[in-house]
Every structure is written in structure tokens, then in C-alpha cells.
Amino acid sequence: MFLLLPFDSLVVNLLGISITVLFTLLLVFIIVPAIFGVSFGIRKIYMKTLLKIFQWATLRIERGAKEKNHPLYKPYVNGIIAKEPTSLEEEIKEIRRSGSGKALDTPEFELSDIFYFCRKGIETIMDDEVTKRFSAEELESWNLLSRTNYNFQYISLRLTVLWGLGVLIRYCFLLPLRIALAFTGISLLVTGTTVVGYLPNGRCKDFLSKHVHLMCYRICVRALTAIITYHDRENRPRNGGICVANHTSPIDVIILASDGYYAMVGQIHGGLMGVIQRAMVKACPHVWFERSEVKDRHLVARRLTEHVQDKSKLPILIFPEGTCINNTSVMMFKKGSFEIGATVYPVAIKYDPQFGDAFWNSSKYGMVTYLLRMMTSWAIVCSVWYLPPMTRQPEEDAVQFANRVKSAIARQGGLVDLLWDGGLKREKVKDAFKEEQQKLYSKMIVGSHEDRSRS
């Protein structure tokens, strides 16, 4: 008993010293640069080192697989078959034209019409677009996160040790560090915005609130070890505009908001989120809706329009897809935000899946599990492209405008542009869509037939 005492105090001392050291390091290297928007470049070095290690690990797996003479599982990201971009009408016309040479203004049923549907059917059987989009994108190299690899059986002892080391580092060193940072960031946000909220309205308040928000987002970015590359920053959204981006995870908000000043739109939640939301709105006007108000589309549109028309208010940040998609494609944009008539600033966000899978499959993981997964990944590497602003042309309606913006985003981010509704993840195929193809075809045939029978 007596002998333990000196050791006891020694241990306590050591613990105390290490915590102090850790905290000072944290402060100096992470928090202070975040406040001033400076970067030491530590994260970039970290990323490069990780990349080298991943490449080495992949080579080892490939070598291991070759030794055992077994083909490796190499998934293709964008599907395995090339789908023709032509529409139903074009294809059927083309086939008929080359066939019986019938004049195209008297369309009627042709034997060859079956061909288009047959081929489309086989294509879908071979490779289905939609369900693929909703599971996490499969990787081509191993990133030492066992969550996403199917080639497990080719791992040697060396790799296993490395993987074990990786787990240790991620869970025991990086995770507590990140949690501490996140905690600091959020508490600073809440206290900062509340304090700023007491100031009288004016330029000073705006200035301070912008910077408090920015500082806290930057700390959160570091809390996730997010390494972001911004492109075309001259196109950043301005006051009175709407910023539109594709949605992969809740982190998108943090990523965008750490490089610009935005007003958020969303539903008021309870709990911690609610506290943060209420604090934020004290410092500068965000648009928060009660749960009941969300259903009322006109009310939502009206409030957004009011916000946008006030030039002193910050640009709104909206994710029109409505749900998280796995970052290989952009799904249908809901037209609500495009009806308001403000200038739209599209932004494309593309995550590099090598370092950590940022996709939030909300039917599989809850928010807390998701955040834990994020914080135990190596890093989150992404690119943000600011696209030039777009406005609605007089001859297009909201849906066409939404599609135009969506294509621009998809093209920039190297994402596949899909017509499907993101809500498909949870519901079954909407009957309206089912009817469309069949209706189109039958209209083509029947419409003309009726003309002929009349004449």
C-alpha cells in the first residue's frame, strides 16, 4: 500500500502534464490558425503520407492475389454498360426509317417497335442504375479502413499489423483529438453567437457574427480533418442569391460554410442541434422552420423570397436533392428553390472516397453513428467547385431550370447526371414515372391511328 503512493502521484503528474501539452499543441496548431484562417499545411502533408501508405497496401494486396492466382475484385464506379443517350422517339423513328422506309408522318405500330423496349429491358437487367447509387461507392484501392474492402483474404501479416496500427491510431489518438476539437468548436459557436446577439444591429454586429461563424466552422473542419480544395473562388455566392449544391452528407454544410458566409435553411430540431440553431439565429438571420411549417410549400417559398430580396442578408444555402446521395451522381433537384427567382450560384462538391466514405446512408446509420464513423476515418478529402451564377431564362420553367443547374453541377464534379428522384431510396418507384414511358409510346401510336381512322 505504501509503495503505491509515490507511483500514484507520478502517474497523476504524468497524466496532467500530457493533457496540458496536448491542449497547448491543440491550441497553437489548430485552434489559433482556425481563428485567423491561416494554415500550417499539416493536413496536406498528412494526406500525402497516407496516400503513399495506401498505394503500398494496394500493391501488397495485388501481389498477394497474384500469388494465389485469383482475380481481384475490381468494381467499376459508374456501372458496367454504356447506355445510349437517345430517347424513345428517336430510336423508334430511326429503326423505322431504316426498315420499311415508311413516311414518318404516318406512324403506326411496327413489328420493330418491340426492339427498343427489349433492349432497354436487357440493359436494366444487366446493370441497374438506381440501387447502385445508394450504397457506398466501392473503392479501387484499400484505404486500411476495413469497412470498405472485399479482398480481405489476400492480406499478409505485415498488412494486418499495419491495419491494426491504423485502428489504434484512429480510435485512440485521432478520435479523442477530434472530439475535443468538435466540442470546442460547437461551444465557441454557441457562446460567440449569443454574445454577438446582444450587440445592437449594425455593421459591427454583422462583421462580428460573420467571423464568429467562420471561426467555428473552421474549427469543425479541422475536427474532421477535412482537406478541402476550393476552385474558382471568384464565383462565390453573394448577398441576395441562393447557393445550390449536391448533397452527400451533413458535413457539406460545414465544408461550404467555412469558406463563405451563408444563411442556413432548415427545420428546427430539438436537443443539441436546436440549441445551436437558436444561438445562431441571434447573431444573424437564418431561416429556420417549425416542423409544421415545412409542409406548407407556399409559406416556405414566401419566407425564402423575403430573405433573398433583402440585399443585406446573406445568401441562402440549399441542397435541392432532398436527401444524401452517394456522391457518384446527382439526382433530381426539387424545383422549390428554383421558383423563387433569385440568382442561383451552383456549387459542386466531390469527395475523394479513398480517405473516408462521407456518404450518409440515413436508412442504415443514425446521425451519431455517422459522426463517429466520420471521426474515425483517416480524413475527408474533397473538392469544391464554385460555378458561375445562373438565372432562370424567360422561356424555361422551374423544372427545366433546376435540370440545367443540376447538369452543370454534375458535369463539373465528374458525377453522373441522373433523372431519378432521390426519394426513391425509401419509397418504391412512383407510379407516375412508370406510366411515362408507356404513355409516350402509346401516344405515338394511338394519336396517329385516331387521325387515320377519322380521315
Binding site: M47, P71, K74, Y76, V77, N78, G79, I80, I81, A82, I95, S98, G99, S100, E108, F109, E110, L111, S112, D113, I114, F115, F117, C118, R119, K120, G121, I122, E123, T124, I125, M126, D127, D128, E129, T131, I227, T229, K350, D352, C382, S383, G413, G414, L424, V429, F433, K434, E435, E436, Q437, Q438, K439, Y441, S442, K443, I445, V446, H449, E450
Partner: protein, 201 residues
């Protein structure tokens, strides 16, 4: 970036994985497994397409009728009807290639396996293709089919006497109707080459 080569071992690997996905890791697929493909519900002739997978004539089996289930080899056999043309095919091979594809389509129409497409079978296909339109009455669909059948008859047999009965479209007649349409270049599914993920740094 699409490859127009014949099916490589990589592609077989893909198809195998797709097969396993559809069969839910069983060794064979049944008709019900095709219900799990949401895009397929769009297609008005999905019944016939799924049917085609189990049609013993397409599976190159000696007997007739429908199989209950198919294994991966059968799956590949059906997929081979949608192979793209190879660069080095000669006239005879091309012709055989074309006939095979057209035979596949012929089997889709000829549901009772008697080697002829009768009026009833033709009507059946037209009704299915137009089934998406709720405003279309059965009578209209039927008259459209009848009109088209008459056209087909005139192409195949020429002018018929008033008491001649047109039994049905045989495979040779079917071939005649597709003359001029280069089905072999259209009826295929191409595999993509390796994709590049947009790099973020």
C-alpha cells in the same frame, strides 16, 4: 470509352456478380428474382423479357417449353444474344449473328412456340406495349394490331385472295420484315472500360 470486343473474362466476372445479386447468392434464378429490379417495372414488355430468359428455345436446349430456373451458364447464353459485332466477322458469320438475334425477337412474339406469329399473339404484344395508357380501350389496341398484321401479310404473301387465310408470320417472313434494318449493330449492350474517378487534389 466503350469496348467493342467480345465478352472478356472481366465482363464475365461482372455478369457473375450481377447474377449473384439477382439470385441473392443462390445458384439459380427464378422468375421472381427479376422483380427486384426497379427500372424494369417501367418496361411495358417486362413479362415477355423475363419470359425470354426462361424460354428453352433461347437457352438452346433440345426440349421445348419453359424452364423453371436458370443457372449462370444459361444467363450468359441469353446475354450473348446481345453481344456487339466483332471486328473480324465475315459475311457468313454476320448473317448467322443477325439470324440469331432476330430469332430471339421472334420468340418474344411467338409465345405458344409453334413457329408462327398468329394474329392473337400479335395482338397480345401490341396490347402489352400499349398497356401503359389507361385511356386506351381494348378495341383500339386490337384494331391497331389487326391493321399492322394486314400490313405484315401484304409484305410477306403479297396480294391475298378473299378466301385466303393468313396463318401467321413464320420466321422466314419475319426475316423479310426486318430487311434493311441492321439489327446486329443496334441490338447489343456495350461494356464500359475502366472509369476514372475525378481526382480531388
Amino acid at each position: 470509352l466503350s469496348s467493342s470486343l467480345a465478352v472478356t473474362s472481366e465482363q464475365i466476372e461482372h455478369l457473375h456478380r450481377r447474377f449473384k445479386q439477382l439470385s441473392q447468392d443462390q445458384l439459380t434464378i427464378r422468375k421472381e428474382n427479376f422483380d427486384s429490379i426497379p427500372d424494369l417495372e417501367f418496361n411495358p414488355i417486362r413479362g415477355k423479357i423475363v419470359h425470354a430468359f426462361f424460354d428453352k428455345r433461347n437457352l438452346r436446349q433440345e426440349s421445348d417449353g419453359l424452364a423453371d430456373e436458370i443457372n449462370f451458364e444459361d444467363f450468359l447464353t441469353i446475354m450473348s444474344y446481345f453481344r456487339p459485332i466483332e471486328m473480324n466477322m465475315d459475311e457468313e458469320q454476320l448473317d448467322r449473328f443477325r439470324k440469331e438475334k432476330l430469332k430471339f425477337l421472334f420468340h418474344m412474339y411467338d409465345s405458344d412456340h409453334d413457329g408462327k406469329i398468329t394474329l392473337q399473339e400479335y395482338r397480345n404484344v401490341v396490347e402489352e406495349l400499349l398497356s401503359g395508357n389507361p385511356h386506351l380501350e381494348k378495341e383500339s389496341a386490337r384494331s391497331i394490331a389487326d391493321g399492322a398484321m394486314m400490313e405484315a401479310a401484304s409484305i410477306c404473301v403479297g396480294q391475298m385472295g378473299p378466301d385466303q387465310v393468313y396463318e401467321g408470320i413464320t420466321f422466314e417472313d419475319f426475316l423479310k420484315m426486318w430487311q434493311g434494318i441492321d439489327i446486329e449493330t443496334k441490338m447489343h449492350v456495350r461494356f464500359l472500360n475502366v472509369d476514372t474517378i475525378a481526382h480531388c487534389y
